[in-house]
Symmetry: C2
Subunit: 330 residues, 2 copies
DNA sequence: TATAAAAACGTCCAATTTTGTCGCATTGAT
DNA sequence: ATCAATGCGACAAAATTGGACGTTTTTATA
């Protein structure tokens, strides 16, 4: 029994394909875990485990301290097994993430999605896919593709707080190589932006990940500008979203049609939202929300389905906009 | 070694907490897998495994064929271990799914999100969360909550093609109990709809999952109406989304401002999209897209930022709408 | 209620597996 | 060239495993 646990811990110590661990390292870690074992035993165990098709591990045959790793692209095995509930939810998540995440990011989860597929298949629930549909409520734009190797370096640099060297091609410019001092990642309409400083300058820049041509990790540590907090940086309007550079709670009063009344009954704007009748076809909606650019987009998107009553400033802003639109379309 | 594999397969046979498997059943399945073992061995092994804190499995102590299951909702263990890349991607997925999936649905993945957290923590990458942000491009509405037990029954009914009995409360009506003949699930603005027929009627209904009070699986098999295909049902406009009840490819010509030009350069409307200059501040965008209600929402949401030039019918529709809006806001 | 079958559990003991040790070959660094 | 580290084969001692059998408890059936 003791040995079973040791096998398990040993398998946990072995990393996935690009990485590896040497036999002596495994021995050391096992001994730290209070396993009194010999190096010879570890060697034998590894050979035994790798012989089984259940554990696709292999070693670098030409190096002398042999290095062990899991042969990749195999979906992970897990205990307890993925339930059909979970499997189905994974497939739903995949459908939702499809238009949101660039393939290279989503690709890091394919092992799990495959596992879910396998699970549903072996349970003879193959026909589930014909029974599920998603009707998106926003226009699916094509996510910009990111060079997978760039993504890997950026991830690692952020996690380990290290700088990296990269070639970046700004719009309509020729590619240039910089040393990037990464501060954070921001996802914004299907694109990923790296918030960073460059070389030893102190001004914070936004760099679209899909415009990097290549990247290579450096060993210099990241220098965070004093008082820099990513969340503050975002809400300060650096991504030009919040209205008037500050977030304000407003009491919204809208006149909405039947369709929107129905939508908002099911998915409210806020927890304390109120809906009352105005006439047969129109309803008064009251809710407290933050006044963001997203709110404005949402309000505009329904056209004549929504009339903004209050706050007055918002109504006036919409009135002005409608005038401008009238001129546009004559 | 043989025994290690048997232990592994045995652990795979044991289901998660609400479900269970009896010792003789395990024996039978193991023998089907060509393990020549004695019942006594299986019993001993199960006791040994459950003694280890690594494998939180337990049995029902009062029944006589003992039934085994994995205890609690602890996060699954997996081999090979989740890489930090995967862990980070899981956390990103969680951020994206937060406003999209109702908690009871998302809840089925918390084990994995927790695992990702654990992984990031033990790798000393605890500060990653301060380094990642999401700027949503649509207004987050509150997803309607669904009774978890209802969701479980609906999932199971759909997977196993069984009917279920449920109490449903339509808007402004008192709850009633029906026998539901489920055909499919559709996700639509953060709500989940069950497409189904009721009793032995043949008309297809849409039932919001969050309006079910309770549900109980029946043993009657689902009867699919002849020619019913969920995807056709959706695209036929049953969810009132596609324009004019049919999907049409149109060549869109838009006059857009700098902001939108930038957005569309990064996340195009379609693969063959063209952008050219009109004047210093405006750009001509040409793309082939399907003419859906979502497209109209998207076009409207930018207000004066977009002027629809072609197709002419669309321009005229927008012109009419602007006139109506003018009247609304005087 | 009686009876039989099934399952759990304790124990013994032989067969098997595991593991430490030693010796030797190979590799890489100093 | 030399030394330390590693891999690997062999062997024997130690530990574990797993079948056999018996007893007790529970469940199903007549």
């Amino acid at each position: 029994m003791e040995s079973l646990l040791r096998y398990f811990d040993m398998l946990c110590l072995i990393p996935k394909a690009p990485n590896s661990i040497s036999t002596p390292e495994i021995l050391e870690k096992l001994q730290n875990m209070r396993y009194a074992v010999d190096l010879r035993t570890v060697q034998r165990d590894l050979v035994k485990l790798s012989a089984s098709p259940l554990f696709p591990i292999a070693n670098t045959e030409n190096t002398k301290p042999l290095r062990w790793f899991w042969i990749d692209n195999s979906s992970p095995m897990q205990l307890p097994m993925m339930s059909t509930d979970e499997a189905l939810t994974f497939k739903l998540a995949e459908m939702f993430l499809e238009p949101l995440l660039p393939p290279s990011v989503r690709g890091r989860l394919t092992g799990y999605f495959d596992l879910a597929d396998k699970r549903l298949k072996e349970s003879k629930f193959e026909h589930w896919i014909e029974k599920v549909g998603v009707v998106p409520n926003n226009l699916p734009l094509l996510p910009a593709e990111i060079e997978p190797s760039v993504l890997a370096v950026v991830y690692e640099a952020l996690l380990k707080s290290l700088r990296f060297k990269a070639t970046y091609q700004a719009v309509n410019k020729s590619p240039k190589t910089y040393e990037i001092n990464p501060l954070g990642l921001v996802f914004r309409h299907n694109s990923i932006y790296l918030v960073a400083t460059i070389f030893d300058y102190t001004d914070v820049k936004q760099l679209a990940l899909h415009r990097f041509k290549d990247a290579e990790l450096s060993d210099r540590v990241v220098l965070v500008p004093t008082d820099f907090v990513l969340n503050d940086y975002i809400t300060q309007g650096s991504f030009s979203y919040p209205v008037d550079n500050h977030l304000e709670e407003i009491t919204l009063k809208l006149k909405v049609n039947v369709f929107l009344k129905q939508v908002l009954l099911e998915t409210p704007l806020c927890a304390k939202q109120k809906i009352s009748d105005i006439d047969e076809k129109h309803y008064l909606l009251e809710a407290i929300v933050t006044n963001t650019e997203q709110l404005h987009w949402w309000l505009r998107s329904f056209g004549t389905g929504i009339e903004v009553l209050e706050p007055l400033e918002l109504r006036q802003a919409f009135a002005l906009e409608v005038k401008a639109l009238s001129k546009m379309y004559c």
